[in-house]
Symmetry: C2
Subunit: 202 residues, 2 copies
């Protein structure tokens, strides 16, 4: 049976529940869209996927296929089971927010991943205690030996996807990042939609 | 007038209030001690110094003299005014916690920076909403071009210090990291005390 394909609209967020053993396939439909991704324990929203706990667990700042992605209690919540892209995903950069766009010169409200996270969870009747630092799928932030970062363009191509399998009952939230000032969603500065599917136990 | 020198006991935490314009001098007395450091707004403990917001603001993973250190609302809370050490401080690694030491093989409770943060704040009658990712002073976590991290030894020498000047009324908490399994506090695996002083407006 072909799984239902859900849309993450451009500049917006979406969340989905996963039972342990189920997986989510997140698809970079148009190839250059960053998708900020979070995961919260279904039993306790204060336990969530945590970048600062993932980095020391992996000994790397870039996760790759086969990696366990841990929570702030250092327990696996998702496994990065498959990745068809070159595997450049960011763990360093906070979700964008209204403060960020203000500093980038916006004088009016700008769509942002932090508000998208909270709105997506509210659609499921859930409240996050905070906006954890996200796993920024396809966001290309190279770091040189001196520790300098850069705002790269995604290395992915249309249709690239990752499969994240749930190690515990959890809620995954995603935001099709509305960043249109820096080139993180490609040089065209045009945020697009992305898609996801829920896949049963493997 | 010589400022009072306060002790951060080995394996323990300590916190201090700073008015805007005052500074704290944190001293690596014995030269190889990592000091996990946090800062919270005095007006609202949910606003705190945030590594994932500092990195994109600086465009670097290593802060250095002259840098503004921002909060999760992207406002400067501290300025790194002076640093006598080679400037290798970590922004990537979560505070150690009891879960961490369990994964490192400890079967009994192990002193840890997360509990030290909460205990230090409780001494001032304060409660943190969470344990933010700390600024790990003198913790030497090199990152290579492929994104691999390593557990380096501090590059600092006895008496090295940093001066952090408050950009807003705030509370600074510090933990003399009790890590004695990985060599982040030096090859001797012997955590030591550190010290701090409060310096008036410059």
């Amino acid at each position: 049976m072909t799984p239902t394909r859900y849309t993450i609209p451009a500049r917006r967020g979406k969340a989905a529940r996963l039972n342990a053993g189920e997986a989510i396939r997140i698809i970079n439909t148009h190839g250059a869209q960053v998708v900020d991704t979070w995961a919260f324990s279904a039993d306790d929203m204060t336990e969530f996927m945590s970048m600062e706990h993932i980095r020391p667990t992996l000994g790397r700042i870039f996760p790759r296929s086969g990696d366990a992605l841990v929570t702030n209690r250092r327990r696996p919540i998702l496994h990065l089971e498959k990745d068809t892209s070159p595997g450049r995903h960011d763990t360093l950069i906070a979700a964008c927010d209204d403060y960020r766009y203000g500093l980038l010169g916006c004088t009016e409200y700008h769509d942002n991943c932090t508000d998208n996270l909270h709105a997506a969870l509210r659609q499921l009747g859930l409240t996050a205690p905070e906006c954890p630092s996200p796993l920024n799928l396809w966001m290309n932030i190279p770091v040189d030996g001196a520790g300098n970062t850069a705002w790269g363009e995604p290395l992915s191509k249309p249709g690239d996807y990752v499969v994240l399998r749930a190690a515990m009952d959890c809620v995954v939230a995603m935001s099709a990042c509305p960043q249109d000032i820096l080139p993180i969603n490609g040089a065209s500065l045009a945020p697009t939609e992305a898609h996801f599917e829920i896949i049963g136990r493997g």
